[in-house]
């Protein structure tokens, strides 16, 4: 069983590999729109997708990736937990 905490930490570790998210509080990071703010580019997002799929044994559908939830750590965590529980 994958914990929400583990997923969140993993996503953040990939996102912040080069520089920290521009957020003061931890809570803010979870709802920071890293795509719309251009914090990551399209190539990076594809790397992120591939790594998370490998780490958690899930496969994102194009609809998941293009959803509003996919734009924040919080939403992405929810998607991974949903896919992993199938």
């Amino acid at each position: 069983m994958i914990s929400e905490e583990a997923v969140r930490k993993k996503i953040l570790s990939y996102l912040e590999a080069e520089r920290p998210l521009p957020c003061a509080a931890e809570e803010e990071k979870l709802s920071f729109e890293f795509l719309d703010s251009n914090f990551v580019d399209s190539i990076k997002i594809v790397e992120l997708v591939t790594r998370l799929e490998e780490d958690f044994g899930v496969r994102f559908e194009p609809e998941d990736m293009q959803s509003v939830d996919f734009r924040t750590v919080k939403g992405m965590t929810g998607i991974i937990l949903r896919l992993a529980s199938r």
């Binding site: 795509l35 719309d36 251009n38 580019d41 399209s42 190539i43 997002i45 594809v46 591939t50 194009p62 990736m65 293009q66 959803s67 996919f70 734009r71």
Partner: protein, 381 residues
């Protein structure tokens, strides 16, 4: 308010008393029978649909996933290849037509969808052709775009050009053109040479031939071929990108399928500076030297292939504001040449090899009437 059938939708006849609804701007489609067509007409008129259910056929396909020169229409051509019919209620049909932009509730919101995506995952915009290809390759098929770009053009091992319009038009034309234009005394630089396929075709007719490209993997592949040309990794298009090439050293500079990226970038971001590139090209050309540019045609590249196989027509949905063509429109390209001291000394539109008629009749007949590539020869003014 009742939904409307946007003016962007055309209805094309299909075999078996079926009708293909096709949005020419989004290039999405769905086939229905006469009852389905009546349901949509009833809905658009604000009435109750007469038929309760009707069959629908999913006719959409991202044809260009097979290559840039594949049929860009995004319709499964052969009705025998359509997936089995799905019986849909009037409500379900209306829902599917909304998803495919064949039925629209809010014309303003529908119009606002057209435009570049902010990033690959932005589903609020339709995006340009490059972005749509990126979504298809990266999100749906999960293939590496760099490898895809090479594979869609070349056979395995880079030994030849795949038997599509690349071979029938571009390769076939250049095979005849280089021996006429070049001599063993000619020195040629192929700028943006990729894996060096055309560079070697040039080297077969020219003397000194140099291929340069910013992609180190492509240059490594070009060198592995063991041909006559020399190759260098150079940051083409960047300031000082061609600095290692001496001034006034080339009789010819050749560029193919590269200038389009100076007008519409393949990924969202700044467009490279074409003036900077052209100044560099001019610098390395000898006085009286010729810049040869072969690019996707500024009007017809990626235009839909409609009509009968041997009597094609197209619907032009764009010229100045590009979503699919992603090439510069004519005045923009020619002005870029002129602004940088070039004069057009020759221009050609490229036509397919007649033998290709047997290989892919639809592609042949389209490309034989609507050119897919154009060639410019330019001299320093």
């Amino acid at each position: 308010m009742s939904p409307s059938l946007p003016g962007d939708v055309v209805v094309l006849p299909a075999p078996g008393r079926r009708w293909l609804l096709y949005n020419v701007f989004t290039r999405t489609s769905l086939a229905v029978d006469g009852a389905g067509l009546a349901v949509l007409a009833d809905l658009a008129a604000g009435g109750e649909p007469a038929a309760r259910t009707c069959p629908t056929w999913e006719t959409g396909v991202f044809g260009n996933a097979d290559g840039l020169l594949a049929d860009p229409t995004r319709i499964i051509r052969d009705a025998r290849q359509w997936p089995p019919a799905v019986e849909a209620t009037a409500e379900r049909l209306a829902g599917r037509c909304r998803e495919l932009f064949l039925l629209v509730d809010d014309p303003g919101a529908y119009r606002a969808r057209f435009g570049p995506k902010k990033n690959l995952l932005d589903a609020t915009k339709t995006g340009n052709f490059h972005q749509q290809l990126g979504v298809e390759l990266l999100l749906k098929r999960r293939v590496n775009p760099e490898q895809w770009w090479v594979r869609q053009k070349f056979e395995d091992g880079l030994s030849g050009i795949r038997d599509n319009l690349y071979r029938a038009v571009q390769h076939s034309f250049l095979t005849g053109y280089f021996p006429k234009r070049l001599t063993p005394a000619s020195s040629v630089v192929d700028v943006g040479c990729g894996v060096g396929y055309y560079t070697e075709l040039i080297a077969a007719s020219a003397g000194s031939t140099l291929g340069v490209d910013p992609n180190a993997e492509y240059i490594a592949a070009a060198r592995r071929r063991g041909g006559k040309a020399r190759y260098e990794v150079l940051p083409v298009g960047r300031p000082g990108g061609l600095d290692p090439i001496p001034s006034a050293s080339a009789d010819f500079v050749f560029m193919s399928d590269a200038l389009l990226f100076y007008f519409v970038p393949p990924v969202p971001g700044p467009v490279p500076d074409i003036d900077l590139l052209f100044r560099e090209v001019r610098r390395i050309l000898k006085p009286g030297g010729v810049f040869i540019s072969v690019e996707p045609h500024y009007i017809f590249w990626l235009a839909p292939w409609l009509g009968d196989q041997d009597r094609p027509f197209t619907v032009l949905t764009e010229y100045r504001r590009k979503d699919f063509g992603v090439t510069a429109f004519m005045s923009r390209l020619v002005q870029a040449f002129c602004r940088n001291g070039f004069q057009v000394s020759w221009m050609e539109e490229l036509w397919p090899d007649p033998a290709f008629r047997e290989v892919d009749p639809r592609a042949f007949h389209f490309a034989d009437n609507f050119p897919v590539w154009q060639l410019f020869e330019l001299r320093s003014a």
